[in-house]
Symmetry: C2
Subunit: 248 residues, 2 copies
């Protein structure tokens, strides 16, 4: 038992050290944090916490993966993010003292490290470098969310779809050229939910891209045939330019 506990602590530290939030911190600091956490197992499909429920702390994913989502008033459930090992859930309420912003559910059997918000705050006060890292991460998130908002507001579905494909492609394979392919295991309905649209529209938009030979699709594999054309779809200029219409 004693042995178990030590091993577990070590494991927690390993995960924390690899997390973007705590990298570059001395082992001593990590040990301190790891010691304060409580572990928790979460079988697949189980809910960890629910949106609007008062928050007591945040969670670090030690194994498995957890999905955060929200139920919109019109009924559809929208995935916000998925966290794998080292990922953090519910950091926002720890900082601002509010309620959980989303509902989270284990995508597979997972283990989590719970850190009470007071512990986290105390830790950050004692380790200001960690606080600065946290600030950097939140700031990045803010940018991401803001640009996401922009996309949702200003572009038509085809443009948003093209943007998403480009992002996905870049994530898998940063050096982009014609012919790169990647796997995107999402149903049209899931795609639609990420794009803020509905299945039918996504189907038709995808079709359009395929017919224009901008991309090709085989099952869950997406091949980018014409990077330039895809980029053109991305920005609203393409509409204005008569040349591009001819090319299609």
């Amino acid at each position: 038992m004693r042995q178990d506990c030590v091993m577990s602590l070590q494991r927690r530290m390993d995960v924390l050290a690899k997390s973007a939030w705590f990298e570059n911190l001395p082992a001593k600091a990590l040990a301190e944090l790891a010691a304060q956490g409580r572990e928790r197992k979460l079988p697949q499909g189980q809910i960890l916490f629910t949106a609007n429920e008062p928050a007591e702390g945040m969670y670090v994913v030690l194994s498995g993966s957890v999905r955060a989502f929200r139920e919109n008033i019109d009924g559809r459930e929208q995935t916000i993010h998925v966290e794998g090992v080292g990922g953090i859930l519910a950091e926002v309420p720890v900082f601002d003292g509010g309620a959980y912003p989303s509902t989270t559910m284990a995508e597979e059997d997972s283990e989590l490290l719970f850190l009470a918000k007071e512990d986290v705050r105390r830790f950050l006060l004692q380790h200001p470098e960690a606080a600065l890292t946290a600030l950097a991460i939140l700031a990045k998130k803010l940018r991401t969310v803001a640009s996401l908002a922009e996309q949702l507001s200003l572009k038509d579905v085809t443009q948003r779809l093209a943007t998403l494909l480009l992002e996905e492609a870049r994530r898998k394979n940063p050096k982009l050229l014609d012919g790169v392919s990647f796997s995107m295991p999402l149903s049209h309905a899931q795609l639609a939910s990420r794009l803020g649209s509905v299945r039918e529209v996504v189907t038709r938009s995808l079709q359009k891209l395929v017919q224009q030979e901008v991309v090709a699709i085989h099952g869950h594999r997406v091949v980018i045939l014409d990077l330039k054309a895809l980029r053109a779809q991305t920005d609203p200029h393409s509409k204005a330019s008569p040349a591009s219409a001819a090319r299609r």
Copy 2:
């Protein structure tokens, strides 16, 4: 001159002390920060910094007000936020090291305090309480932006308009009841820019609300006549329920 400088320092501290970012900090800490800043005058209409330009630091509004906006590729310019005295501009790039996320322009003659990003970082390392406050503010912003994104994606213009009116009303007068009024000195075009739409649509939406006697408008003064109806406009359910149409 010497006198000027002292007075100026005092003024800076007064503003900083009232800013959400630095309230509750000891005067000594504020003085330290104020001393590191450089003041800058910005006549109305002048641009402070431009989106995507590398960021050297952030600005505190000492007087006047400054508007942050972005030019979208399709030409329209979208207001992101407006900061008055005590407000902060460009904190995000200070934390994440990136470029300015928006363009900012003085809405009226303004004075600003520039704080170099290294100075801010050093300050936060030495005053972890301030870092925690900053985290809280960023976290709140994240929530706001996220809910904003949700709104943009899921609601029609009338719904977004209703939401904006409710928010505005709550900011001026937190206890909401039928008959509260507030001033909203925005042209329809400016409203449209905040709602991600165009003037004509906003005009018609407003008209609709007025005709349904949900709100009344006299010049720049908005009176909320029927709070419940306004709230109903806010969520997409209202469409589904035929009863609500009768009630209006």
